[in-house]
Amino acid sequence: MSKLEKVLYGNRLKPFLFLVGLILMLPFVVKSSYIFTILILIGIYSIVTLGLCLLIGYAGQISLGHAAFFGIGAYTSGVLTTSFQLSPWLALVIGMVTTFFIAYLIGIPILKLKGHFLALATLGINIIFYILILGLNQLTGGAAGLIGIPSLSLFGLPLTDKLFFYFFVWTAALLVLLLSLNIVRSHVGRVLRSIHDSEIATETLGVKVENYKVAIFALSAAFASLAGSMYAHYITFVAPPTFYITKSILFLIMVMVGGAGSVWGAILGTTVIMFLNEIIRFVGHTYFGISGEVEIVVYGLIIILIMMFLPKGLMHVISKPIQKLKQKKKVKIKSHKDMISQKGV
């Protein structure tokens, strides 16, 4: 049975421990506070992309509106802690619960749509959200944004310290990762994959496809909200442009570049795209003297190329040689055993 699980899902303990080790080790290696900020942002965005990966890679549904849920979390935290002096932790939980219910209610009608239409509808939701936070300026500060969001503190430890916040964010990200891995391995994960392959076939097996799709949509939205709250408390400032469709597209690209077929791909894709962005900006700025949005040319080109030649994402490229290596090992051991048994004869 355990062997079957390994074949079906791969080993999850080894990569997980590897990731934990990497996260623990990085603060000792990385000295630049600039790169440290990027690592924290990768942690925050990974929480969003993990949820999105469950939605896209496992359930086969697309969303071009996750920046809206990210924004609902950020603005709930921001507004509740600045205008209503609520505890940041309480605000974070309220944000997640609210987002879950909003996404659930939106999800019921919207997930009846498929493919391009679902993409357009979620895009529309993102645009509506963006206009609402611009328009409700008494509450959200409008275009000027919301300033003075307090930082988090945990058991008396102020999380203004980058190191503490780094560990805090990545602990949360790892918990979300564990949860996602467990979902993928559970019967829910199997149902989701079967929805991905054929909704109708799944429905004929007596599964209420809609419920599963809506639930996973709401869950991924709640993840996004959690990340949004963390973002708000880390940057201590939120403004509408952060939550426009460009961000939704960015999340989508992170998932697809990493490989939507695996939960690990979400974290890999987020890391790769974040560093890619910084490298392009840095190279463009220092060597070509260009500034502003020019990097989007390279960015667009890389996305096209990756999608054209590696449609399964980078995770697929990495995991393939490892699997081959393992198979070779097995064959070697087997042939060795065969030889021994033959000698015995």
């Binding site: 391009h116 239409f117 529309g124 645009i127 690209i253 040319v297 667009g300």
Partner: protein, 290 residues
């Protein structure tokens, strides 16, 4: 009454621009099954190349023709390089590829033309016309006339010419068309070229009214897309009607509710249409293959 008339005129003008993009969307979607998120960028390319040619001293008509040709060529190149390779992959990957193309083209626009909005003098220099209390910009009439002419031309093209009927055959059933000796791949290239040219025309037409920037493309592209979805995905007349409706909706909601929320209202209507009439409000009932 005057206000009402004014809203109608403005709405139809904006709607006509969306309609041109929506025609491109419908053509590409029906032939290739791809929704080209980069469609709006061709409006940007068309408008800005046209301005460049005019500033270089070329006469207006020549500039327009060159701009349309260049945009169409870029459309063809995009199809041959990025789309052709990935045609048989999943919807999500195609969406991301076209988004990538859109980002790339926008970035090129930024590099070539910078961030400043650019102006184009209207083709027809006339005093604004007063009609039933509404002030009509001559450019609006011009846009509307161009839309009508193009619709007539497209009708003749699709219904009366050989290539047009080959395109329609591909729309109806690509496999059967293939058996009849029509190459779906060529038709796909043709559809992208046509759509890019229509996008460029839309961009050139709107520029005298709104000015052109490198980032003008995405939102009008999405609006054209919305028009097409509201009107139904399968016919050009439906898409045009849907796009005109979107234009009217925008100006009326802007006038009676708030200009600030008009985009939000447009998308809200889109979502409602998708919920209640997912095939568009002008569509006939149709079956779906499982």
């Amino acid at each position: 009454m005057e206000l009402l008339m004014q809203y109608i005129v403005t709405g139809l003008t904006v709607g006509s621009i969306y309609a041109l993009l929506a025609i491109g969307f419908v053509t590409v979607y029906n032939i290739t099954g791809i929704l080209n998120f980069a469609q709006g960028e061709f409006a940007m390319i068309g408008a800005l190349t046209c301005i460049t040619f005019v500033n270089a001293g070329l006469p207006m008509y020549a500039s327009i023709i060159f701009a349309i040709l260049i945009s169409a060529t870029i459309g063809l190149i995009v199809e041959r390089t990025a789309i052709l390779h990935a045609r048989n992959t999943s919807v999500i990957i195609l969406i991301i590829i076209t988004i990538g193309v859109s980002t790339f083209l926008k970035g090129m626009g930024l590099i070539i033309w910078g961030t400043n909005p650019k102006q184009l003098t209207p083709l027809i220099k006339m005093e604004p016309i007063h009609f039933m209390g509404a002030v009509i910009n001559p450019q609006s009439i011009f846009i509307f006339i161009v839309l009508l002419i193009l619709l007539a031309v497209l009708y003749v093209f699709f219904e009366k010419t050989y290539i047009g009927s080959a395109l329609r055959a591909c729309e109806k059933n690509p496999r059967a068309a293939k058996l009849m000796g029509i190459n779906p791949s060529t038709m796909s290239a043709l559809a992208f070229t046509l759509a890019a040219a229509l996008g460029a025309i839309a961009g050139i037409l709107i520029t005298p009214i709104t000015d052109a920037t490198y980032e003008m493309g995405f939102l009008i592209g999405v609006k054209g897309f919305v028009g097409m979805v509201i009107g139904g995905m399968h016919s050009i007349p439906g898409a045009v009607a849907g796009a005109l409706l979107v234009g009217l909706l925008e100006t009326f909601s802007g006038g009676f509710i708030s200009t600030f929320y008009s985009d939000a209202i447009t998308f809200l209507v889109l979502i409602l249409v998708l919920f209640f009439k997912p095939n568009g409000i002008f569509a006939r009932a149709s079956g779906e293959r499982v």
